[in-house]
Symmetry: C2
Subunit: 322 residues, 2 copies
């Protein structure tokens, strides 16, 4: 939640010379996005988001991320459209950083998601999974099992400072997940970070999905499990069954889950909770206080992990096993 | 440079019910303004800034600040216009804070001001001084002599931590300023904080003056001296005579200075440098590292103070005494 790099009007004018967006009218650094610097631009032709990719994003991944948005927007998914430059490319440079200009999507992300929001998110996620089917590029999920192990290797020695007993708890999760992780479920392009601040609504209508900078190829049902974690828990860490039911029904109304995907949801949700707990824990332990990067509490996801360990059946998420 | 308070769509919808601005389309926290939380709103009728007044702003002063913008905009000054609510008032409440909706001004603030910018700022400042003449409300300058003494009382014991010898240097400034401060120069409503980030340009044209939250009644020439400090020094702390000449000529093209105002510029510039050094020093010593409030280096203004102590004549700013 920060602007890491400020830019001058001269830099921006030079950058925009390669685009056909009309005269620059204003630009404001916006307090959204936790990895990159984002500016909201007004030009004679409308509103745009300019993203400067900071060092946490690997430049080699940019063609995948921006190409995916282009592909999905072409399929009618409400996502930002990268603006093409006069030479046809979509990645430029400003202030020494790779940068892209994308269309601005109106809409508000729900600070307090309702079951109706969850249903729409489920539908949109399934639509995204289907629309990505013929996207030609692929990207390995850097935050899958191997990535988790790396993060845990770095964070484990100090994990008990954050919560006594955490290192033993999580060691057990790793052992069980390694044994039970499903290998052969349907996979394809997933969003991998579809939290409420990445989904915009206008009234009850979902108006946009943003921030494709964790998108990759992985299990569809894992993406859905991430949404269960991100959308269906209350501030008191209780799972909201109404929201879970709505999210899953919304998803299935567009892409029905197989019996094996349904069965795998508890272990996938546990893995997804582990993934977000680990990145939060790593940041918590390594980012100095006062840095611009927003640190999120890893304990929120320790709570979700504990919930998922206790799950006996996917029916506890709001879906009946078949 | 931060958003201190986030708001929900529900809170914002309830707030906007009292305004006639059309349907809310989006709102983004913007990384501008160092005292308040600011959001850029798009609605069916256009773009607006929503400002939530945080605790550093005294609520009792809001009618002065907002009334002044209303008054100046009515006189043709390019400044935001507070949007009136259906009951005619301009101050509402959101997230427990007083808040106002103002029109959005297109334009960019100059990260690297040129002499041409300085000339336009001089003209606009003089125009503002003239346009405020018949504004009926008054506000004492809380950051004049008494205010400086209070800040210095709090910061002095630790001033030498920031720069050895600073406490003795500044004690001498206080003694000399108390003796030489001009008492009977023309006064009226001043902006009091007209730094580059508060002035927007579209090309060479000044398109807007914002952030009236230090505005008050004080000496016009003191406001001009603040602009000399804010606009005419280079990153290496050298005074740029070309910019000073342009700023002062621009001002005089709209409101000629009296001989006594010209003569007083060096002492006023020294007082103004002391004022900004003191608020920065106070923040430097009291705001914890990692707080959201941006801390600016007080030493930039120690350098300006030293420059002003050495000034023999206003001609060193780019204006001949008469």
């Amino acid at each position: 939640m920060a602007v890491y790099t400020d830019i001058t009007e001269g830099e921006l004018d030079a950058f925009l010379e390669r685009y056909n967006v009309g005269r620059l009218l204003s630009y404001k650094g916006i307090a959204e996005g936790s990895e990159n610097s984002n500016f909201l631009l007004h030009t004679a032709s409308g509103s745009y988001i300019l993203t400067l990719y900071e060092k946490r994003v690997d430049q080699a991944d940019l063609p995948f991320f921006l190409g995916l948005m282009d592909h999905l927007a072409g399929k009618g998914i409400n996502c930002p459209l990268p603006v093409h430059r006069s030479d046809g490319t979509v990645i430029g440079t400003i202030a020494g950083r790779p940068a892209a200009l994308i269309t601005f999507l109106e809409g508000m992300w729900p600070r307090r998601p309702t079951a109706a929001h969850c249903r729409e998110v489920g539908k949109a996620l399934a639509g995204l999974h289907l629309a990505g089917a013929d996207f030609p590029l692929t990207r390995r999920n850097a935050l899958s099992f191997d990535g988790w192990r790396k993060l845990w290797g770095a964070a484990r020695p100090r994990a008990d400072e954050v919560e006594p007993g955490l290192s033993a708890e999580v060691d057990a999760d790793f052992a069980e997940l390694a044994e039970k992780w499903p290998a052969d479920l349907p996979l394809g392009v997933i969003h991998a970070d579809l939290f409420p601040d990445n989904v915009f609504f206008l009234g009850d209508e979902l108006s946009g999905i943003i921030d494709f900078y964790f998108a990759c190829n992985d299990l569809f049902a894992y993406d859905l499990a991430t949404c269960l974690n991100a959308w269906c828990f209350e501030k008191d860490h209780a799972f909201n069954l109404t929201k879970g039911t709505a999210l899953l029904a919304g998803y299935q109304s567009v892409r029905p889950l197989s019996a094996r995907e349904v069965e795998a949801l508890p272990i996938l949700a546990r893995g997804s909770a582990l993934r977000f707990m680990l990145t939060r824990l790593y940041d918590w332990l390594t980012i100095p206080d006062g840095a611009l990067v927003q640190k999120r509490d890893p304990l929120e996801y320790v709570r979700r992990l504990r919930f998922h360990r206790s799950i006996k059946s996917p029916s506890e998420f709001g879906i009946e096993p078949r």
